[in-house]
């Protein structure tokens, strides 16, 4: 796997980045288990008297490799679970031939993808056609590198983690465009145009809703944002951002925008198979096609992980007194819950139309997301000296958010939302 070396190369250009973690946690506790490979590599190289730069580079590569390995297996697992869940919702059985309960289905899929013929259309530009799938996967993996998974487990402690995350996300747009354009055919082009306009529109609410968290945490470092959500109100209510009026609204906006960013149903117009075959992936086959799927799912993990970090308290336990459970367990528990929610949404909602998609982003999500910023400021300034907020502050903040929301949704519903469709059947 050449990917970790690539990450090391890209991230190595950050001068502030200490490549090796300086702290030395005990080897075999539940908390530091995910860092065991990294520590073993470090110890082995130190025992061999390797030079310092080699130790730190190898340690960094192992840390990155751990994350990539974990999420690639999660991707394989999710591809099965998704099909099983969809099948359950549609009253089918789903894959059940390969292994018990179809557990070997991802392996079978992988072998199938790898052994398929790699077709490059004659009208395609072969170089850009080759570059696009790689460019889709890289930003997702880079973004996965900056998320704090546990108290001891943060692969790349970046001071500007959040900005880095969004900066890598923009690379996906270029990759999607290249994929659509280089294929030299019309469905990929249409799919790429749809995908880019959707990504640009939904990036705004995504970033704005994350801004309110940055404002109140006073930091761009994801580890510090998680640390700012520690503690419990009244002894048992976790101090997560989602449990405040502004955080609740921003969190829901983030969830919707994240769903649209990762091109999932009901926002899967860029690859709506009944309309434009497979969008920008139409002309891809074999392993390149698999890379697109990998990039999409890794991006889904990354953006869900960011949502958990910003709003759901990251790796913090939901109740006090659960300190004996490793913190990364909570992170992955929340991740599983969010992903399941996305699956549920996918099975429930029909695909929206292009104009509905754009109106929803620009006329509903962005205004409300902008509103969360002043409300977050109000929340900060009406707080008691000890940092908690009184009943009055709660009521005021909720009202300021609720009234425009009701007005917008009423207007939205009356003027813009679709009523029952009239179907026109072919004669």
């Amino acid at each position: 796997m050449r990917v970790p070396a690539l990450i090391a190369l890209v991230l190595g250009s950050f001068p502030s980045l200490g490549l090796a973690a300086t702290d030395k946690p005990p080897l075999l506790t539940g908390e530091s288990l995910p860092r065991l490979p990294q520590r073993l590599v470090e110890m082995a190289l130190e025992a061999l008297k390797a030079p310092d730069w080699l130790v730190s580079l190898a340690s960094f590569a192992t840390a990155a490799g751990t994350v990539v390995a974990v999420f690639l297996s999660a991707f394989a697992l999710l591809s099965l679970i998704e099909r099983k869940t969809l099948a359950r919702a549609q009253n089918r059985l789903g894959p059940n031939r390969a292994g018990i309960f179809g557990i070997l289905q991802p392996v079978a899929d992988g072998i199938k993808m790898l052994t398929k013929e790699d077709i490059v259309p004659t009208k395609a530009e072969w170089f850009l056609h080759l570059v696009a799938p790689v460019m889709i996967v890289i930003p997702s993996i880079l973004a996965l590198g900056v998320i704090p998974y546990g108290r001891e487990w943060l692969p790349v402690p970046l001071e500007l983690g959040l900005v880095f995350f969004f900066a890598t996300g923009t690379m996906t747009e270029v990759a999607v465009f290249i994929a659509g354009w280089a294929s030299g055919s019309k469905f990929p082009m249409l799919g790429a145009m749809r995908a880019i306009s959707q990504m640009i529109s939904y990036e705004l609410p995504l970033i704005i809703s994350a801004l309110s968290v940055v404002m109140l945490s006073g930091t761009l470092s994801l580890a510090d944002i998680v640390a700012a959500q520690s503690g419990y109100h009244l002894g048992f209510i976790p101090a997560w951002n989602i449990l405040t009026p502004w955080g609740f609204v921003a969190g829901i906006i983030f969830l919707i925008a994240a769903n649209a960013e990762s091109n999932r149903c009901p926002f899967d117009l860029p690859e709506g198979e009944s309309e434009i075959v497979a969008g920008h992936m139409t002309e891809y086959s074999g392993f390149k096609y698999a890379l697109f799927f990998m990039g999409e799912y890794l991006g889904l993990f990354a953006i869900s992980g960011l949502g958990i970090t910003l709003f759901l308290g990251g790796w913090q336990a939901p109740l006090p007194g659960l300190g004996f459970v490793p913190s990364w367990f909570w992170f992955f528990g929340k991740l599983a819950a969010i992903i399941f929610f996305f699956l549920w949404v996918r099975t429930t909602f029909p695909r929206v139309r292009v104009d509905q998609l754009m109106r929803f982003a620009w006329l509903c999500l962005i205004p409300i997301a902008l509103l969360t910023l002043p409300v977050a400021a109000l929340w900060h300034f009406t707080a008691n000296p000890d940092g908690s907020n009184g009943v009055l502050s709660w009521l005021l903040c909720s009202a300021i958010l609720a009234v425009p929301f009701i007005i917008i949704t009423v207007i939205f519903n009356r003027r813009l939302a679709p009523s029952l469709r009239t179907y026109h059947y072919a004669e």
Partner: protein, 171 residues
């Protein structure tokens, strides 16, 4: 120093491609590459925040906008572009050469009296934010007004004229 020596020729090559390529989309993609490499250059000299912002705005915003505009409009005849290139390039070089000469002469004249090799090794983001929102507030507000005006103005300009709703009626 080493990253700079590696990056500079790459940036120049990508920019040269953006200027040279006859195919408009290739030129735009090479522009995106050049701007992304400039972002990496910022990262490597310690201005990480600026580098990431540059990446976000230029690669994710400006380059995508340019590519989009290229797709919506019909680019001119590529063959004609290539055919008239020698003449226009010669004329262009005649105009550019003095400018470049003056710039390079100024650079070769030497550094400011006291140029530190490490004047500011790292960009403190917190300080930058404080500076922006304490001392540069009028400028920030002006830029905010400008961007809002641009958002509305560009939307008005680019709107399809004619009947208001070409979209399928909802009811």
């Amino acid at each position: 120093m080493v990253p700079l020596l590696l990056l500079s020729p790459l940036i120049l090559l990508a920019a040269l491609g953006a200027v040279w390529k006859a195919r408009p989309v290739h030129a735009a993609l090479l522009l995106a590459l050049a701007l992304a490499l400039v972002a990496v250059l910022y990262l490597s000299v310690g201005a990480e925040f600026i580098g990431l912002v540059q990446f976000m705005v230029y690669v994710g915003g400006v380059a995508i906008l340019i590519v989009f505009a290229l797709l919506i409009t019909r680019p001119g005849d590529e063959a004609a572009e290539v055919a008239r290139r020698p003449r226009s390039l010669a004329l262009g070089l005649v105009c550019v050469a003095p400018v470049l000469g003056i710039l390079l002469y100024a650079v070769s004249k030497g550094l400011p009296v006291a140029a530190f090799e490490d004047a500011n090794p790292k960009l403190p983001v917190q300080a930058l934010g404080t500076e922006l929102f304490e001392n540069a507030v009028p400028a920030v507000l002006t830029v905010g007004v400008l961007l809002t005006a641009v958002l509305i103005g560009a939307a008005l300009f680019a709107r399809e004229p004619g009947p208001k709703s070409e979209l399928p009626a909802d009811r």
